[in-house]
Amino acid sequence: MLQNEPKAPYVRNRDSAFTVMMDVVVALLPLYFMAFYFYGLRALMLGLASVAAAVISDLACVLLEGKRPYPRDISSVVTGMILPLMMSAATPYYVVVSASVFAIVLVKHVFGGVGQSAFNPAAAGFAFAAACWPSQVFSYPAPFSSPAPFGAITEGLASGPAWSLFQGGVPTNDILDLLLGKFLGPMGLTNILVLATCLFYLLFRGAIGWQAPAAFFGIMVVAMMLFPRIPESGPMSLVYESTAGMWIFGGIFMLNEPGTLPKRSSSRIAYGALAAIFTILFQRFGRVEQTFAFALLLTNVFGFTFDRYSERLLRRLRRVYLATRTKLSEKKSAQRA
């Protein structure tokens, strides 16, 4: 039996790990176009720097572990692309580079590289950056002020509607600007319409399952409507929260990262629900402006346990089902006899 002889099913699905990751990259590209449209060349340069740092540190870690590097494995490119979109366009380069190096080296490769990783690297990277440099990460330039592509940007920075939501006040932007994404906010995720198209693209391509986002967005929308944290009516607070907040972008890209998501569909629903609950709690009692990344890190802890409990529940259900079925068939054969 030769080693590289093809094994049992000799017809295989056309999708490969490369195409699955490319779906996510393609879904991220419109966000980069939007960031380029709002903030000019600097947005693309930040993305490039982050991706380069992620790929180089990933390569270094793989070589350090003594494995052969594999060019078609682009999971670090995905992490590198997700990170700068959450930060403001004026963040200095060292912030983005160190966040992606932290994400790849200390979160992804310590817990085992591409496959099952304990934490979502992009969320951990952003949480690290938000913990280290809150002023640089959360101060946003005005949308069409086209900040200088290189070098640090100090003037023309202000805090956007997310900050007023964090303080509990009603943001002053009008609704049309909020919906079109023309307000001071993170680089790539201000326009929720583009995000919705990305979600449907990923769902259609099958790159992500529908269970986790459905549970997550369902509970979040209900919570925003029923318990607004700003003195506004339900739907209005939902509009403010969804446009200014980061949880829609997180619910699409970071929540469904294949490594940390549980595998069973029932445990995915529980995982999405828990992520929503933690996001709401962190929003209410958090001390940081965008708290989705921190809430997601806490839910990643329970990814594996949901799978184990759903497995245990399923085994018990199956035993009950088999018992009833045998009883049923015995009763039927008894009738017939």
Binding site: Y94, S98, L106, A131, C132, W133
Partner: protein
């Protein structure tokens, strides 16, 4: 005299392992708590290791003396004696610390005195009861060296990363990571240093095994 000489050298050698191979903090992970959060500057690190030394060495020596008591005395009485001695040793440690750096105690806060109750002597004291006093003293010194090497290394790395300074005066580092001063930075830095230490020990063991095999080959050829 020869066997006696050997056992002394062997005993000396065994204790020296405590510094690197069996480092109490990084490898066995004993006195982790203050090392993780307390030591975010080298000054704090020095203060912590000082307190550790001032507390552990007398307790271990006392343990070797109390070992000679009759076994009728229950174990918890000895433990209480160790704890009272550890508490009393805090006062001279405190004076020594304020002698070295005036505001050392304020920046450390409760970790200074929390170091008195660390798990190193809590676990090693009953074992030292069967030892002779000079070996207990030697083990205390080695434990302190091991812990202080680790705490100083970790706090140096954390200070360089978070404030870009070393013992207060700024250094070449321009990029600062203020978060390394917080608890999670401490955990990560201690974790990474523990991994680097283990990686280094593995490399040393590989080289030693290679050298040994090389020697055997020469002896065979001769």
């Amino acid at each position: 005299m020869q066997p006696e000489q050997n056992s002394v050298k062997k005993n000396l050698r065994k204790e020296l392992d405590l510094i690197f191979v069996k480092n109490p903090v990084l490898v066995t992970g004993l006195a982790l708590a203050p090392a993780v959060v307390g030591g975010f500057t080298v000054k704090n690190g020095l203060g912590l290791s000082l307190v550790f030394g001032m507390v552990t060495i007398p307790v271990l020596v006392l343990a070797s003396f109390l070992g000679m008591l009759s076994p009728k005395v229950p174990q918890y009485v000895r433990t209480i004696a160790y704890v009272v001695l550890a508490a009393l040793m805090l006062i001279p440690a405190r004076m020594l610390a304020s002698g070295i750096a005036p505001n050392l105690f304020d920046s450390l806060g409760m970790y200074f005195s929390a170091m008195a109750l660390n798990t190193v002597w809590l676990i090693r004291a009953p074992l030292c009861q069967e030892k002779k006093p000079q070996w207990a003293l030697w083990e205390g010194v080695c434990q302190t060296l091991g812990v202080s090497v680790c705490i100083l290394a970790v706090s140096a790395v954390r200070e360089l990363l978070s404030y870009g300074t070393f013992w207060g005066n700024p250094t070449f580092l321009s990029v600062k990571f203020p978060a390394m001063a917080y608890a999670f930075g401490g955990f990560i830095v201690v974790g990474v240093t523990a991994a680097v230490l283990r990686w280094g020990i593995d490399r040393v063991h590989d080289i030693a095994r290679l050298a040994q095999r090389q020697q055997q080959k020469w002896r065979v050829e001769r």
